[in-house]
Symmetry: D3
Subunit: 295 residues, 6 copies
């Protein structure tokens, strides 16, 4: 389909109220899934971030990188064992995870953004002490009981030190963050990127947190497309998790939304990163996409 | 025609290179003709200016108002005589012109912009001594000879004092300027708005001057649509005026472009203000519209 | 009478304590009456404002223009009807009022100040949304009952948005304000200039509000010069209005003072604009002039 | 003679052009002679400086203190010998001179200004290395020959380090400077205050240097009041010194003016400090007083 | 003893934690006693202050000068009488005290610091109204009763106006303060320098107050070296004064500490100025020296 | 050996002139060799950098990482071939090099500095486009002729874009830079860290470039300790390279020094990183260590 110049002009104008609304606001994007693997989608995410920057938004990117870590562990012939679905992460594993996340995935995103005229700066949780972390134990359920198991250098966020983010944002850089935290003794922790994005959105009092996922959003019944949920409020979301309506891979996404809202983010959105320009669709069009979790 | 969300997203992204190009740049718009009379077009110009502002451009508006002045003179029963096609402007006439331009046309534009969330401030050439003017004589041709005739308070720009414009632009206001200049003794002069826009574009070293007109642009032969000129260079433009290719109402437009370029503006554009969103079409799409006059 | 250089020096020095007292303070002047009609007085007011500016005061001018509006309405053959002494102001009338106030009276004051080396900028309530207004109904008394009558585009101040004033004052401009407000739908309202000045003095937390009038001040008994009141306190002023001691044209003046004080202005003064340099007399000499209304 | 309020107002207004002219300008005042001894005159100088400050001038005071030093040396029973009219200044003498100038005369001036609401700060040439000095030899003439004689800690200005002055002026303080310089090895030098004022006026590129003296100005013939010189140009001044028209105590005054002009001051004035408010008379009235030495 | 380069490096590194701790903090030093008389010690204090400045501390010096005043009074043959151990200070005495303190002692310290590359500025309590003072009466005990006696221009601090200190500190100057205060009528008061330092430390909310004394610190029993007190808390200190454990010359020192703590200083230290580099020892080494009085 | 507090104080004071000299200056450190492998030395380098930061120096770290890259390539079973002593660097190799340098070596240094209270931020040449690079061909000598050979993603610096460094330094961060450059098409290049440090020192107009090496400095004759060169001037250095006096591994070090000096660095130093606190020894002690290459 081709557009006339006139069509283009009206669409630009239609975006104006959204541009006004988010002018000067901070939006945190958890970047992961297909949008990070598929080259065409990747290209479109970069365009979206560049557009955000130019119309006055302050974007902050937090990325994952699970598949790339798995690929690299395989390459070095490192076997992984799993507990409760989580990879046991010994010292060598976390070192490789950090190398892959910070030295490969992060660098590539930074590079792509710089190529689009946006001044991006890559950070990990170590830079200027950005993410203070602590060990997170896995929970193993056995019948009616559960117990906590140490699975190594898997962490959770203890504190976000936003000063480096604010300094960079104020000078018009786009921070790109690898989800590595640093512990009391300087040890590295691999942290779920959804949670890192949530904590950063909270700590920055961001206007929005956008989680790019590989699903369309949340369904009341996963098998019935008619049960799609556009908006989910905090109490409802908590109830759905408790009652098992929200389950499996959706749990960390929704929990990340709850955390971000609890700590001060404005709104949170679980969107389908497999769509072209899903970020722009969410921010600049009247309908929005995916499921929003709000207060 | 309706657009899918996806269409909209791609069009926004297509605008990105133009947004980057003009980020932080000053663009002077001469606003006049049908775009100022037709309510729908007016609305669209306001949207265009708001969009420019929000994507980081610094717009400056200079407006005309001939028809409104004529209307008001009629209302007060004031007869006008003409010399060489120019209205003889006595003290009462210039007073009414100033009232209409500054107290009506200017206020209305300011008001419309404020309603779109843009902080506009109306100025005339008197505010903070913005436009120093002097009397402009009319040239009357009689056979092979010509003579200069005093037609009253019709002026030309002597000097632009940009400090108030820079102070307002730096604080994110949109200046809207009525084409009234002030003489040595404090007397008012009515000045052709095209020339005022040109002088201001030059004095501000603006990136672009856009003249909104009621024609599509310039033709080598007005009767032959195939002779449309997209780009005109300075020497060519001067030759065309000398040789009569450019004539009549086009002369002041092209002269304004030449003046702006001579005094430091980057590019100048004669565009068709009768088109919806002509400003956005010119700035944000690859083809541009109308005739550009460049160095 | 001629002064020796020595005389002049001592008088300058005598002004020192007043200069110190008002250094850096904002003073709002309601400019109107004879001081705006008589050319010699006008000249002196301009000198006074220039002096204020140069000794470190931040003056803000609000002007009226009733007689000029009346004159112009007559010129265009517009008949006015009156309700409760107020002009019924239809759309055409308010348009003319705005043209006269903003495009003629305001421009002229700005021009005169610029000629004295002061950088003045003319504003109406529309610029940057300075004065949000709403319709004001007239009160018609019939025997013991009263009813409200819609007399068109006569307004009252709903809110003052001081940002443009502060930005201009901080950059050493003198704002000159025409008493036109803007309603919810962008419609213009003509507002009594005394009230506009009062609201602006309050919103700016001004040190003083000076109302230039055509009387010497307030008398307890208008026929007995010995009953002149130098200082009036808030409760007293309210009582005098209630009891009819203050009546007629004095009511809006005193009400303006009360409003300014209620909203945060420091002191208010009703002074005789028919005196040469009445502003300087009030500010820089030990005795002050006119009637001050204070907390 | 008493003035009406009206008189006062016109005189204030008459000063306006002078206030405009010197707004934001630096004026260096050499304060000494009778104006520093007579309590009434002293009071008036302080008022003048306060007025200057409040109307936007940046005054800098350099003071002398010869008579006070002499008085104190007498008190401690210190005998002085003289060479070529200059006091031989041994280590004890310069120590006492510094104590008197910095610890007494300077403190008193600072104190008087602070009492008038001006924030004055006392400095000597030692503070932040303000005045780098070197020894100045006396010239003894014997018949047709002359020789240089070491008379101890009498100095001349080598370099003025204006940073502390600029920092204080920018923060609205009035610097008051005692004419003590500091040598390479940290030793103190007593320097002629006229020269110190001249060097500081030059280094600050001051608008004016005012030297308060005990004479009316310069006469071509000291005995003939009709030969008073209002304006003296550089070459003329040099010729008059060479030819002995300017002689005796006038030489250092005129030389100070020449130095200040050579180093970048705008104008210099030798004025009669015995007149009430001589500073104000010079700056704020049309006639000026005394003799000006200009380029 | 000689150090290898390696030794030096480790010692510099050992100081690092102390440098970090005091970076950007204000430390007030009461400079007096032997450290001000002995040339070698004096040199070392100056080095210490320079070092403080360069490692990011904001030092403020308050000096005494009793012995120098006494010496000078003797020189001018001025007899002093004493009441309750305090010198009766008539007008002539306070004038000499001010000259000595401000014009000699202060200037010399400023000069020594400037010679070490530190930009020092000398102040007395008169500069910019730094120290507002009032008369302090002496208390004479006669048997069980006491009475207050006027001993002239001996003062106590009424108020510290820190603006000049903050302006100078923010611009990287080191203020050096002579303990002269100024009364309501502009009269000078000689004030105990310990108290001045305490009030200034309080007013600046200084991190530390260091009092350089001629003793090692405080002993519970002056004759028994084993009773040395390293740390004294506020209530304890008050009890010791009440019970006479702290007596004689120690009282004003400890009272100064209490005043500083009460008004907002962080910690106070009574240290032995007779030790080489006592300031550095206190600040940059783990042990500290002398007695600290803390909350 | 133990030091008394007094010893410590004198050593701190001895460092004062060096602290003054480098206050506010930028010093670039190429960190590599043993100082990066040996844990104890590593710890000492971190202390040295922290000390530099706290005494007002602006340190910038550029690190190498050859041995770590080699180790990792071995781990993944990647075979390397060599041309002219340089590793042929295919796409997979440069990806691993980047991961190791940016995601492991860089992160670790950043982490160690943060643990010492210094706010360090890791960068690679990709961040904000810091290092623009281009392919560097290897030179293969065959008899008398030489030819250029493409060995893949080995690069040289084309341009340094210092804005991110200046923004971080101005906000008191310590930049730590991995020697990865980015080409026209976004491809990564591995660059010799000595050259990167040199280019950055030049681009920042750094006061000093310190190259930490595993030798004591430069000898005229490597076998004769008596031929040690303390200072080498530019022309001499060039001659020594040409004549083979400087050969082998010393060539890139000296070339780096020459490049830094050519591009604007003040001085350059080749120092022995195997010594404890070699950085502090070079900067803060009178003797300096190693070989300095100067203009």
């Amino acid at each position: 389909m081709t557009f006339t110049a006139k069509d283009k002009a009206s669409i630009l104008v239609e975006a104006l109220p959204y541009i006004q609304e988010f002018y000067g606001k901070t939006i945190v994007i958890k970047y992961g899934g297909n949008a990070m693997i598929n080259d065409e989608l990747k290209e479109k995410v970069m365009q979206d971030v560049a557009l955000m920057k130019y119309v006055g938004i302050r974007p902050v990117i937090v990325h994952g990188g699970g598949p790339e870590i798995t690929g690299f562990l395989k390459k070095v012939g490192k076997q992984s064992s799993f507990v409760a679905g989580l990879r046991v992460t010994d010292a060598e594993t976390v070192e490789i995870a950090e190398m892959v996340l910070d030295g490969k995935v992060n660098s590539e995103i930074v590079n792509l953004l710089n190529h689009r005229g946006v001044r991006a700066v890559g950070l990990s949780g170590k830079d200027a002490g950005l993410i203070q972390a602590r060990k997170k134990l896995a929970t193993v359920y056995e019948g009616d009981t559960s117990r906590k198991v140490d699975i190594g250098y898997v962490g959770e966020v203890e504190q976000v030190n936003t000063s480096i983010l604010e300094d960079l944002l104020d000078q018009d850089y786009v921070p790109v963050i690898a989800p590595i935290g640093v512990g009391q003794d300087g040890e590295s922790y691999n942290i779920n990127a959804d949670y890192v994005a949530a904590e950063i959105a909270g700590a920055l009092q961001a206007e929005k947190l956008l989680l790019l996922t590989d699903i369309e959003g949340i369904y009341r019944d996963f098998h019935d497309k008619d049960t799609f949920i556009s908006t989910l409020h905090l109490p409802e979301a908590r109830a759905y998790i408790r009652d098992g309506v929200i389950a499996g891979g959706m749990i960390p996404k929704v929990e990340a939304c709850l955390t971000a809202l609890d700590k001060g983010a404005g709104k949170t959105h679980i969107i389908d990163g497999r769509l072209d320009h899903s970020i722009i669709l969410e921010i600049f069009t009247s309908k929005g996409i995916g499921t929003q979790v709000v207060r």
